[in-house]
């Protein structure tokens, strides 16, 4: 097992407030872990402890086998970190800033130039390399922060909201970049954009009030959604009522809701009871009775639903 990040029983108190409550997980090489949770759930705190910036009240964090509090220098060498808000020295240019980070990370001469060139291309910041960081837009700053985390081509990447403040094109680019790097690194990204998890992550952890409430693949998370395997069906107006009653009579159907309607047809969503698939049944009956006024669509579920379901349970 090529386990690059190991967090074990991390607990963090801020005075009397328990911000992180016994969090443990491992991240293997090749994994992109999406770290999800409502604001204030303890995402950033956990990440700060994983980097060794904050000391845990109890528990340990290891990067490539090095304990971040006992062997901090070795652990930090292997790791790139983009802190929340992508801070950078405003009075420097990205070029100076990257040079500083590269030198502090022990890169020498040619290596520094070469690596700056590589990360500049990867993050598309070439055009602003000589501008003062404080004059840059949010999107550029974020990417300068990302470049800084990548400068030494680390095995472990810990990125706190890497796409926050980026426009859709830039988000796409950054996600593509993360995917490209994924196969030989272990990456943790925190986000509250759920589509991002679907787009880049191989695994998702949801935390709420400092505890892990879900740890699985984005697909299996979606399967937890009530609307997983639900079916959108469009029927002609005149057969709408009969169709609805018929669907309701299936014993595997939980609920039927009207999604939209107009002069000619009505769209329903049929939500199955947990674990049932209605597709065959519904498609057969709709075809046989000639109700169909459009195609059937199967819903795979929404992460948003699951997210809300999981995190609001613990809040109330």
């Amino acid at each position: 097992m090529d386990c690059l990040i190991e967090l074990k029983n991390l607990v963090k108190y801020f005075d009397a407030i328990k911000a992180v409550d016994d969090i443990s997980f491992n991240v293997q090489r090749g994994e992109v872990l999406g770290f999800l949770g409502p604001n204030g759930a303890g995402k950033s705190t956990t990440m700060k402890m994983a980097t060794g910036f904050l000391l845990p009240t109890s528990g340990t964090a290891k990067i490539m086998g090095y304990d971040v509090t006992e062997k901090p220098i070795q652990a930090r060498r292997k790791m790139g970190y983009l802190p929340e808000g992508a801070p950078a020295y405003g009075d420097m240019t990205p070029f100076e800033f990257l040079t500083f980070v590269a030198e502090a990370r022990g890169l020498k001469g040619n290596e520094i130039e070469r690596n700056i060139k590589i990360v500049t291309e990867k993050t598309h910041i070439g055009s602003v390399l000589k501008q003062q960081i404080e004059t840059l837009s949010k999107g550029f700053r974020r990417r300068v922060g990302l470049a800084q985390a990548l400068i030494h081509d680390p095995d472990v990447l810990i990125l706190d909201e890497p796409t926050d403040g980026l426009d859709p094109n830039q988000k796409y680019e950054v996600r593509k970049l993360i995917q490209e790097m994924a196969k030989d690194k272990a990456i943790i990204i925190s986000t509250h954009i759920l589509e991002e998890v679907e787009a880049v992550c191989t695994r998702a952890i949801i935390i709420s009030q400092g505890k892990i409430t879900a740890d699985e693949t984005p697909d299996s998370l979606k399967a937890r959604s009530e609307r997983h395997n639900a079916i959108y069906v469009t029927v002609k107006n005149d057969s709408a009522t009969i169709a609805r009653t018929t669907f309701m009579q299936f014993d595997t159907v939980k609920r039927v809701e009207k999604c939209s309607e107009n002069e000619s047809h009505v769209e329903y969503i049929i939500i199955p009871k947990k674990g049932f698939n209605l597709l065959d049944q519904v498609s057969t009956i709709v075809r046989e009775r000639g109700w169909a006024a459009g195609e059937l669509r199967v819903e795979h579920g929404h992460l948003d639903d699951v997210f809300r379901q999981i995190t609001s349970k613990t809040l109330s």
């Binding site: 910036f53 930090r76 020295y89």
Partner: protein, 241 residues
């Protein structure tokens, strides 16, 4: 350590602030020397009137330089980047301290016209002037160490400035006759001696008289070491907070 030192020193000169600071320092030094110190009326070719005011000048000048060292990093969040680089806290603290110290050293060096004028006007004892400069530089280092240390406890530069200026004032003033007379009424003599032994003013004063007493030098160096040590401890402590 050198990497941090280089970055910090550069950042002092990245803005016109550095130039403004140094100019103000030089102007104030001049005003103090010529008006308050009555350089001309003193009637002697030495720089006593000039050095006499250094502790009081540093009192404001150095906390203003040192206040940003840590407070700013914490406020902008860059401290997270800095402290997750593969550097030890001691290296970072030392790098920052040295940068601020060298910066004050630059300001001090730029007072050389004083030295030139006094050499034109008369025939001063340049040995005394040299030890005074060294003494002043060492004292500046102790002030920088205090300022940097205090800067590590707050996010706010203003708070860092006020507290370190106050602390510096205490260290300068505890040896002054005013305090000693006041405390002398009720404090035992050994306590009084101990307190005034910590006075920056007294240690500096003997250096400016050309008395090369190693203990004065050692005093300032140990003050630097002490506050650098506390500074490292404070930064470490914040990690656990």
């Amino acid at each position: 350590m050198f990497v941090v030192f280089k970055r910090e020193l550069k950042s002092y000169f990245a803005t016109p602030l550095a130039a403004i600071f140094i100019i103000i320092f030089l102007v104030m030094a001049g005003i103090f020397t010529f008006f308050l110190g009555d350089f001309f009326a003193w009637g002697q070719a030495d720089l006593h009137a000039f050095f006499m005011f250094h502790p009081w000048l540093y009192l404001f000048f150095i906390p203003a330089i040192a206040m940003r060292l840590w407070a700013d990093e914490r406020k902008t969040g860059t401290i997270e980047i800095l402290l997750t680089l593969p550097l030890t806290v001691t290296q970072v603290v030392m790098g920052k301290f040295l940068a601020a110290w060298v910066f004050t050293g630059c300001a001090l060096l730029l007072t050389f016209p004083m030295w030139i004028s006094v050499n034109i006007l008369g025939d001063p004892d340049n040995g005394v002037i040299l030890t005074s400069y060294i003494g002043s530089f060492l004292m500046a280092g102790a002030f920088v160490a205090i300022g940097s240390c205090i800067s590590a406890i707050s996010k706010s530069q203003v708070i860092a400035f006020v507290i370190s200026a106050t602390l510096c004032f205490i260290f300068v003033a505890i040896g002054s006759p005013l305090i000693l007379n006041f405390a002398g009424d009720w404090m035992p003599k050994f306590a009084l001696d101990t307190i005034s032994g910590f006075s920056f003013h007294n240690h500096f004063d003997s250096l400016t008289r050309g008395v090369i007493d190693l203990s004065d030098g050692i005093f300032f160096v140990s003050m630097m070491a002490l506050f650098i040590f506390i500074n490292v401890a404070l930064v470490d402590l914040k990690k656990a907070a």
